[in-house]
């Protein structure tokens, strides 16, 4: 299976890459593990691929100002193996381990996943739950885009046509918090039929704060803020939590396909949100 014909450029700097994106039919190639399959199926037919894989210095993970700063070419494999990630936001490593398979994780990138905004991708849910921003470079310079609001619709983000993610900045897990990623996956592709990331802090036996990221349910990853608020002050008993997570898919255009109906996905979202909150709370207890 071959993609349709395209031209290929491998710029040596991000500025040069942004310049090449003046071609309206150009696409950025990072790990290529979402884009190339789409091109083979001719669902995407860019006329120019701008490969940012040869630009030096785009593969790194470091902690600055309470954030994990992760370079554009950093792969899932590097995230999984990073001591810094295990220390600052272990849930990110846990979720990275849930993506695809080992060979896919060796090429696929976090920044690419966020830019691609697959509605069933794992990392968008985790990025939303952690919070932070996407640092993008465009013709007008650099800007930080808050992750809240970054995902606009299916496969659509706030990135402008000529903008490239330079770095993903995710808040480190707050002290005393626990976090978990719970996923029910499509067993062949390992995409999430539903995936829930929960980050919880406790005050004695009750929940002091909760942040939830949801993927696989609607056309884009989202935070169910009503659920986050309903969880505050709740103890960890099953009935109370069931009530608090009840609205997790409310107001969402829940997707259905041959693998799962909308009703089933909404059900999974409620069950997995409760499980993720319980697991996160157990981890918060230490």
């Amino acid at each position: 299976m071959f993609p349709a014909k395209f031209a290929y450029a491998a710029p040596s700097s991000l500025q040069e890459a942004v310049g090449l994106l003046e071609d309206p039919e150009a696409k950025v190639l990072a790990g290529g593990h979402s884009l190339l399959p789409l091109m083979k199926l001719r669902l995407a037919q860019p006329k120019l691929l701008v490969d940012i894989g040869r630009i030096p210095g785009l593969s790194y993970i470091r902690t600055e100002d309470g954030h994990l700063a992760i370079g554009a070419m950093t792969t899932y494999r590097e995230i999984q193996l990073s001591d810094e990630v295990h220390k600052q936001a272990p849930v990110l490593a846990e979720a990275a381990h849930e993506v695809g398979d080992p060979m896919v994780r060796a090429k696929g990138t976090l920044a690419g996943a966020l830019a691609h905004a697959d509605p069933a991708g794992d990392l968008p849910a985790v990025a939303l739950a952690l919070g932070g921003s996407v640092r993008a470079l465009g013709p007008g310079g650099e800007r930080d885009i808050d992750l809240d609001g970054f995902f606009v619709d299916m496969l659509t983000t706030q990135l402008q046509e000529r903008e490239i993610i330079r770095e993903v900045r995710l808040r480190v897990q707050p002290p005393g918090s626990g976090a978990a990623y719970q996923k029910f996956d499509q067993p062949a592709s390992h995409y999430a039929l539903t995936g829930i990331c929960a980050i919880v802090t406790l005050n004695g036996g009750t929940i002091a704060s909760a942040r939830i990221g949801v993927t696989g349910v609607g056309p884009k990853a989202y935070r169910p803020t009503a659920v986050e608020q309903a969880l505050v002050g709740k103890s960890l008993d099953e009935e109370g939590l069931k009530a608090a997570v009840q609205t997790v898919a409310d107001g969402i255009d829940v997707q259905g396909d041959i693998h799962a109906s909308p009703e089933y996905r909404a059900h999974l979202a409620r069950v997995l949100t409760r499980r993720a909150v319980v697991q996160a709370a157990e981890r918060a207890k230490g």
Partner: protein, 183 residues
């Protein structure tokens, strides 16, 4: 073609070192690495199974990391060091410990998935020299076998791990004949 695209060359030169030999070939940008290796370099041990990055038959090592060569462009591999299944056995025919374990544990039937399996397992056992059975099964997530039901492949990985750690001889005494005579 748009303006920028027409300024760019229709073919690119890709230079790679594969199993210690340097090759240089002209490719179209859309040439996939697996076809580059098979058809332009003539190394057909790497297989095309699903061509959709699910089955793992095309797995090779690029700069020491196991990847699916059906989902990488040949141009992306320019300047890299590649190892394919042809690079695993020694020149005198002595098998790699993983291959030896597959031989002893009957880890293959038709053999189509085996090159990709061996290379994925090479990565797995470098990442984790003493995996549990569950870790082995999880680690083989990206490789499909339609013959064996995986039982003997998992046995092969565990045996290969023991061989590589020096806990099991490279060649196990052949117990098959002794077993057969007992029946």
């Amino acid at each position: 073609m748009t303006q920028t695209a027409t300024r760019l060359p229709a073919v690119h030169t890709v230079g790679v070192t594969v199993n210690g030999t340097h090759y240089s070939r002209e490719v179209e940008p859309r040439q996939l690495l697996v076809y580059f290796v098979r058809e332009q370099l003539g190394l057909t041990g790497t297989h095309v199974g699903c061509d959709t990055s699910q089955c793992g038959a095309c797995t090779i090592l690029v700069d020491g990391i196991a990847v699916k060569s059906c989902t990488i462009l040949a141009v992306q591999a320019d300047g890299t060091e590649i190892k394919t299944i042809e690079g695993f056995a020694e020149a005198n025919g002595k098998l790699h410990p993983i291959q030896q374990a597959f031989w002893e544990e009957h880890g293959l039937q038709c053999g189509f998935c085996t090159p990709g399996m061996v290379i994925a397992i090479d990565q797995l056992l470098r990442d984790n020299t003493n995996p549990t059975e569950a870790e082995v099964r999880r680690g083989l997530d990206g490789n499909l076998c339609r013959c064996t039901g995986y039982q003997n492949i998992v046995k092969s990985v565990l045996s290969a791990g023991r061989k590589l750690r020096g806990e099991e001889p490279f060649e196990k005494p052949d117990t098959a004949l002794a077993d057969a005579s007992a029946h």
